[in-house]
């Protein structure tokens, strides 16, 4: 039994096994609304079963908040309907773009770290929040190259979060990946973020593809340095929900539960002490 709010990504690859096991017991589940909106039949049944057993948070893929295109208002309204249908209180997305020139790309591309991009995205965040009537939570994404950057990553993220007053999803693995790929200190990076706006944390595994590059795959177990970074981050922020992302190479349920327990043990030390002092 987990003491804290620790969830797991609900994936079709293991949805049925997950719903029929007593081994994996997260506090909540997270899913991508794009993968479930307007879906009926077998998958809808599983989703409804999951919704009966667990609170749901949503983590979108296609909002494309950093896109140079117009915001897809019809899509945001579809998401809103889905959030309402499943009583979803947290909707997070990626600080990236996945649509350009009216074409979806279905993956997360890096936004130029530039002042005009900040203003463009801040306006779009406000537009999304107005439609959804709830805060948008934005994740720091992993990136493998900067694009025409005129500021550094933490300045870019901080400006967007502060100017839009949206919430932030701290993806600890992405900080680790980016720090490795772009040669910066991950702890210093986290310290510079708008910590008071962090309302959600993601943890995941990654794949080191060369001596100079890590790819954020969500296909491996979390490595110790990422746990260590999480330990550090959790000492700086207030208790928030934490999610384990595992999208590929799904292991045995025991292994996923062990990862949840490990995350829980770390935050138990940090957040219970903090609460006791408070």
């Amino acid at each position: 039994m987990l003491k804290h709010n620790i969830g797991i990504g609900f994936r079709k690859d293991f949805a049925e096994e997950f719903l029929n096991t007593q081994i994996l017991k997260p506090s909540f589940i997270e899913l991508a609304p794009e993968n479930w909106i307007d879906m009926g039949g077998y998958w809808k049944k599983l989703l409804d079963q999951a919704a009966e057993k667990y609170p749901i948070t949503c983590h979108g893929l296609s909002l494309s908040i950093g896109s140079p295109d117009e915001l897809d208002v019809a899509f945001v309204k579809q998401v809103k309907k889905f959030l309402k249908q499943y009583n979803v209180k947290v909707y997070s997305e990626h600080l990236s773009y996945s649509k350009c020139d009216n074409a979806h790309l279905y993956d997360l591309l890096p936004i130029p770290f530039k002042a005009d991009a900040v203003k463009h995205i801040v306006a779009r965040i406000k537009q999304v929040q107005d439609i959804l009537e709830m805060p948008l939570v934005l994740e720091n994404v992993s990136y493998y190259t900067p694009i025409a950057a005129e500021m550094n990553e933490h300045e870019f993220i901080t400006a967007i979060i502060n100017e839009s007053n949206c919430k932030m999803l701290l993806d600890v693995n992405n900080v680790y990946v980016n720090a490795f790929n772009h040669n910066y200190n991950p702890k210093e990076f986290i310290q510079k973020l708008p910590l008071h706006n962090i309302s959600y944390i993601h943890m995941a595994g990654h794949e080191k593809v060369s001596d100079t590059l890590i790819i954020d795959t969500h296909g491996q177990a979390i490595i110790d340095p990422v746990y260590e970074l999480f330990n550090f981050a959790s000492s700086l922020i207030k208790p928030v929900p934490v999610l384990l992302e595992r999208d590929f190479n799904i292991p045995e349920m025991e292994e996923l539960q062990n990862e949840l327990s490990k995350i829980d043990a770390i935050v138990s030390k940090k957040w219970e002490v903090e609460n006791a002092i408070a």
Partner: protein
Amino acid sequence: MQLLNNETRKQQQKLANYCRNGITIKIEKSIPENIPHYRRLVYNIITDTLETAYPITYNYLPDEQWNNLVHGFFSNHKCQTPQVWRMPLEFYEYVVANNIAEFYKIPFLNDLLYFEWIELEVHTMPDIDYPTIKQNASLLTDIIAINPEYKLIQLNYPVHLIAPVDKLEEKHGTYFLLAFRNKQNGNVQFMDLSILFAYIIENIANEITLSKIISNADALFQINDINTLQKHVLAFIEDLKQREFIIGFKL
């Protein structure tokens, strides 16, 4: 008011276009050796999704033809759906709109893709409310209730009958296929239909009594033997009941 500078927009477009068409680009203040990872990651999603949606077509086409087709699709077509699992429908529509079947000299290509898409569509389509029904009534004079989660499609080649795909190009004709979803387990069942039985299902769906349908069919298909026709139709109806496509009678 436009807040994004044209130059910023241009850099974003360059990266996105590269991910779609793979044509090498230069991007300001980037790590050039890492840019191909974006193309690889994006393209893997596209190929994985299409190969999962169209396993028969993927296995039938030679690798080079399949790869060229996918590359052409993603380079030239602007994917509209934000839901990646729906993207294969756009792939099918692209193949039809661009006469790829003719270009590749595979006349049944459109039908093969459509058949594969229909399975996915029926499996995933939004739930449709079942009608309120009764179980005891007259098959001939009451309104038969059917499973509402179905598609009745017409094909020019029997892509649903021949596996593996073999000499299909010689079998041009008119074929009908019923695809419906089992309410309990969500599985999709297929039934090959003659034109007569397709006509019967279409008319049952339009809430016409079986007696009237048989009478109309006898004239339409110039059978001129209503008793024999009724015997065959009732056997077909019994089969549909066994398969749980016919679920009872409307109230």
